[in-house]
Each structure stands twice: as structure tokens, then as C-alpha cells.
């Protein structure tokens, strides 16, 4: 795989930009997609947000100073895009973001791009009911298997706080799953 510094340099140069951007999309499209999909839940919304994320990355690559890793920066953009998307959508529907995501989770059974069984459906409903930060941390730790250091860089928060969030999230999820 191409070194990150090289990729960033090539992304910033007009002559190499096109090729480097293709490499960037190829490298991160699936990981970013799944990260976004876990936040917005349905495929069409994830597709919108993924495309907007890459477009934003492309437009703002000049501003990337290399203070964090490129993928952390992209994950941060993807996370913000997904959360903003949900806020805008919920505003249009006249509900809160939390309500919207709970509704989405409750309707997953009807989604043609969800083939989970009853327990998987219930897990998504449990995650949907978590506070925003716990939800993000849980997904990034449990499904994306990221290290706390990586999550801390993306969410710009302390590792101690993340561990507490993850612990609380798992306890709440377990309680929700055992509820009936």
C-alpha cells in the first residue's frame, strides 16, 4: 500500500491528484462506508453521506496539515457528515435525531439491505437507543475493532472517557437484550 505521506503529497499536486484520489477512494471506501452505515443505518443515506464525505475530502485536502493521520481526518469528516445528515433529515421530518434513528432501527426489518435475524435486529435497536457518543464508541470498538487511541484521535476525546463510554454502552446493550 502507498505510504500515507506520499498519498497526501500526491493529492495536493495537480498532476498526480487524479490518480491519488482514485487510490484514496479505493483504499478507504469500504471502511468509511461501514462506519457511516452504522450511524445512518440504511444504504441510501449511507451512499449519500459517503459520496459527500469523499467530495469534502477532495475539496479540503489542501487544508489537511498532517496533524493527525489521513484516515482519522477522513473518519472525522465522515462522522460529522453522517451526524449532520441525520440532523437535517430529522429537522425536515419534525423529529429529533434520536427519534429518527430509533425509528430507522425499528424499521430495519423492512429494509431490503438488512438481512439480520431477530437478535441482530434487537442489537441494532439497542445501539440506536444509546446516546450519540456511546453509540459511536461502541460501533468503532466493537464492530470496527479500532484501538482506543485511534478512536480518541477521530472523536477528539480522552481515552479514559472512551473506555467509560464503551463500558456504559455494553452494559446498556446487554440490559436491553436481556430485557424480555
Amino acid at each position: 500500500m502507498i505510504a500515507e505521506e506520499t498519498l497526501v503529497r500526491e493529492l495536493k499536486q495537480k498532476e498526480t491528484q487524479a490518480k491519488a484520489f482514485e487510490v484514496l477512494i479505493n483504499t478507504y471506501k469500504e471502511r468509511l462506508y461501514w462506519h457511516i452505515r452504522r450511524i445512518v443505518l440504511d444504504h441510501d443515506d449511507a451512499d449519500d453521506v459517503l459520496q459527500n464525505t469523499f467530495i469534502k475530502v477532495f475539496r479540503n485536502i489542501e487544508k489537511f496539515k498532517g496533524d493527525s493521520k489521513l484516515y482519522s481526518w477522513m473518519y472525522r469528516i465522515g462522522t460529522n457528515e453522517a451526524l449532520s445528515f441525520l440532523k437535517n433529515k430529522s429537522r425536515k421530518l419534525g423529529v429529533s435525531s434520536d427519534e429518527l434513528i430509533e425509528r430507522k432501527a425499528d424499521n430495519l426489518q423492512a429494509d431490503v439491505y438488512f438481512e439480520g435475524d431477530a437478535i441482530q435486529l434487537k442489537l441494532q435497536q439497542a445501539i440506536a437507543r444509546l446516546p450519540e457518543k456511546q453509540k459511536l464508541v461502541f460501533n468503532m470498538k466493537y464492530y470496527e475493532e479500532m484501538k482506543y487511541e485511534e478512536i480518541a484521535e477521530i472523536l477528539d476525546t480522552s481515552i479514559g472517557g472512551l473506555k467509560a463510554s464503551y463500558h456504559l454502552a455494553t452494559k446498556k446493550i446487554e440490559a436491553f437484550l436481556k430485557a424480555d
Partner: protein, 174 residues
């Protein structure tokens, strides 16, 4: 009690405490996994990741190639916008000071189209009001000619002061 030396008789396997935290975390993970499924159940349409790459490239690189950056033209844009606003205002003012539009401002073709598109039954008086009399012949209205005597008879029947009419008509057509 005092005779018994205060010594811990228990011992642990070698290296037990070094890996303890990891083992606890692993156990926690295993317990969690026993309750929570590892698979989520989400899926994507066939060939989605190939398609989305092309779509993003179309929206960024392809679009970029066609776009002329406006940054360099920005000062001119402001000037152009100001001129455009002034132009619109001036046009508006000029139009507002114009006299009301008259029938003469309409193109002949528009009048013809209007008349043809509607089933208008215009009287000769209405037509006379519209069309310039100097360019008309009586035959434009009537297929058969009108005898002078008939005109005089008609005028005698309808006009009170025939003399006055003659004077006016005479003056107008001089």
C-alpha cells in the same frame, strides 16, 4: 497467633499478574459476544463499491476539469453585479415613467393572431375604431358597392343635422 509468622502461604502461577488485565478484558469480550452477535445483518447492493467509486470521481475530478475557478474574477464579479443591479433599477424607472401603452404599440401580427384565435364578432364601428380610415376603401367591408343615394338616405334617417356633418367631414378629409 503471634507465634505464627505473618507470611502469605498462598502463591500464584508464574507471571499471573502480568497478563491479568488482558485476560479479564478478553473474558469480558467473550461474555459480550455470547450475548451480542458479531454480524450486523447489513448488506449493500451488488457491485455497489465499484459503482460508487465512479460516481465520486464523476462528481469531483470530472467536474473539476470543466470548472473555471472564479476566485481570480471575484473583483470583476462584484463590479458586474453592481452594474447589473443599477441597470435593472434604471430600466425599471424608465419603464415606470413611460406613458401607457397604446394600441399602436402592438405588432400587426399579434393583433391578427389575437383576432383569429378568438371568435370575435366585431361591429363595423369597432373595426373602424381600430383601422386607419385613410387606408380603407368601402369595398374592404362590403362585397357589393353602396350607392350614393343609399348613403344619403341612411344619413338622413340617422343624423339630425346633416349640414353639420357635412362640414365636419369636409374639414377632416381636407
Amino acid at each position: 497467633m503471634k507465634e505464627i509468622p505473618k507470611k502469605n502461604s498462598f502463591k500464584t502461577p508464574p507471571g499471573y499478574f502480568e497478563g491479568l488485565s488482558d485476560r479479564i478484558l478478553n473474558k469480558l469480550d467473550e461474555e459480550d459476544k455470547a450475548v451480542m452477535p458479531e454480524q450486523e445483518g447489513f448488506k449493500v447492493p451488488d457491485g455497489y463499491f465499484e459503482k460508487v467509486e465512479k460516481e465520486i470521481l464523476d462528481k469531483t475530478l470530472q467536474k473539476e476539469a470543466r470548472v473555471i475557478p472564479l476566485r481570480g474574477y471575484r473583483p470583476y464579479l462584484y463590479a458586474a453585479a453592481a452594474i447589473a443591479v443599477l441597470f435593472v433599477l434604471v430600466i425599471g424607472l424608465v419603464r415606470n415613467t413611460d406613458p401607457d401603452l397604446s394600441f399602436d404599440d402592438l405588432a400587426q401580427a399579434e393583433i391578427t393572431r389575437y383576432i383569429e384565435s378568438r371568435d370575435l364578432e366585431l361591429s363595423t364601428y369597432e373595426i373602424a375604431e381600430v383601422l386607419p380610415v385613410t387606408e380603407l376603401e368601402i369595398g374592404d367591408f362590403m362585397e357589393s358597392g353602396v350607392e350614393n343615394q343609399e348613403i344619403l338616405d341612411y344619413l338622413e334617417d340617422t343624423i339630425d343635422d346633416l349640414e353639420e356633418l357635412n362640414i365636419d367631414t369636409h374639414e377632416e378629409f381636407q
